[in-house]
Amino acid sequence: MTREDQVMGENGGEIHGDILEVIFSHVPLIDLVPASHVSKSWRYAVTSSLSHFNKPKPWLILHKQATRYPYTTSRYAYDPRSHMWIKISQPSIKYNLALKSSNSNFLYMLSSTKLSFSFDPLNISWSHVDPPLIWRTDPIVAKVGDSIVVVGGGSDYEDDPLPVEIYNTVTHAWDTCDTMPGNLKDSAASTWLSIATTNEKLFITEKQSGLTYWFDPNTKCWSRPNKLDPNQHISDHNIGTSNDDLILVGLCKNDENVEQVKIWKVDKENFQCEEIVEMPLVYVDKLKSESIGISSINVHVTGNFVYIYNQSETEEVVVCELIANNDYRWWSIQNVVAHDEMIMNRLVFTCSRVGFDELQRIMRSENQRFEVES
């Protein structure tokens, strides 16, 4: 018998599966893809480790796009499971228009001749369809079930609020319905609104006032107006869906005039808000810009992850992981796209659940490669 045989027992020198699972919990997700092809027992241990020890977590994806033609784009992802930034290789299509995203992992480009959109985790597949009937700048575009809903946005010719247009991804047809509520007329562009989607509804909140409506693309109905009002003055309301819950992330000031960021769970029926957690002040400080503090925040929510950043200074992103049993983990990450790169570029943030099977599929070809950023 060799020495290894004696030590490791009957496995003949191979490390035990249980130990392997713990080792794999420290291996970045992208490196587990080749590891799963080492042997059958390694493949089993990878799958088991991912479901028992260190599960995949939603990635924050930054699309850095040049502000001028040909809109050269590079993409970076932050994987919170592995605590690292990854540079994703060239996108699958040429982005020859300005990339936009209203929330989550839904990415789109709109021109007068077509609407292109993508909603798979790493935006590999794109659909190109006829544009909505009415030209609009900066609308809300969101995916709700099988529908792509286009709401609001400014127009040079129209004073009235614009009709809502719905593209059905199954029948490939456009449909027009009621305009968005008049109360939102003055803030109809996506800059002033925060949205959240479930499979059935699109929730829209006016960032400043907290005025909230939902829209159901199946019945084409708008809800009555609701106010998100957790008994505290909030200067900036942001919403998102965490698993099935609607949450509100608000920027507010306490009695001593200190800025605070809080997260509430919102009842989807009566819009009652229940505070769940407050951002520790050390992270609030990270969001502050030297000159103007925090004027406005942006929020991306997927699964149990909330990513929060200052709209006018994106150098730090604060992460909140909502763990079961009212437990929360906060940390901050430094934006990998350096400040001086932002002069000729703009950043679009998305947030995606990137699963292991998804990653296997993507990494199978030579086209999609990932490089670890320092």
């Binding site: 030590v7 003949g12 490390i15 130990i19 080792i23 291996v27 092809h37 080492v38 042997s39």
Partner: protein
């Protein structure tokens, strides 16, 4: 270590490796091996403790690790200096051949030494990164048990992971 044990004579225990080598260790070191702590508490640690899964080469390393950690933690230095010292020690301690690392990891698991197990797992994890599938098989002594057809398909689809 509590003050009451310091006053009494230091207890020692004898650990016997797989290949029959006996090591004398102080209690403060022995109790870091969770398995042995339980034996001591159950008064089953005499005349010596046989460790059937650990060779003398590995057991010597394990004892060196536990000894350093026990001394640093009870040395009266400030927590931050102790932390720094342990970090430096751990880094150097992990600078060994991969086969030794694998055995250390298994031994730490068997002897239930949490910090050493965590340390070796992290180190082994870092060795998997940026290596080809062939290199990983060799390093971890893994037998490729995929069928010829399966292996061929993987080599084609994930050609980059073999280069």
């Amino acid at each position: 270590m509590s003050s009451s044990t310091e006053l009494t004579e230091k207890k020692v225990f004898l650990l016997k490796s797989l290949d029959g080598v006996i090591f004398e260790v102080e209690e403060s070191v022995a109790v870091q091996l969770e398995v042995i702590r339980e034996l001591i508490e159950g008064d089953c640690a005499r005349p010596f403790i046989s460790l059937y899964n650990v060779t003398s080469e590995i057991l010597a390393l394990v004892i060196e690790y536990c000894k350093h950690h026990a001394e640093t933690c009870s040395g009266g230095t400030s927590a931050t200096i102790a932390d720094e010292d342990l970090k430096t020690f751990d880094n150097e301690f992990m600078n060994v051949d991969e086969n030794i690392l694998l055995e250390l990891c298994s031994a730490a698991d068997y002897l239930d030494i949490k910090s050493l197990f965590e340390l070796t797992c992290r180190t082994l994890a870092s060795l998997i990164k940026d290596r080809t599938i062939i290199e990983v098989r060799k390093m971890f002594n893994v037998e490729n048990d995929f069928s010829v057809v399966e292996e061929k398909a993987v080599r084609k689809e994930f050609a980059w992971a073999f280069k």
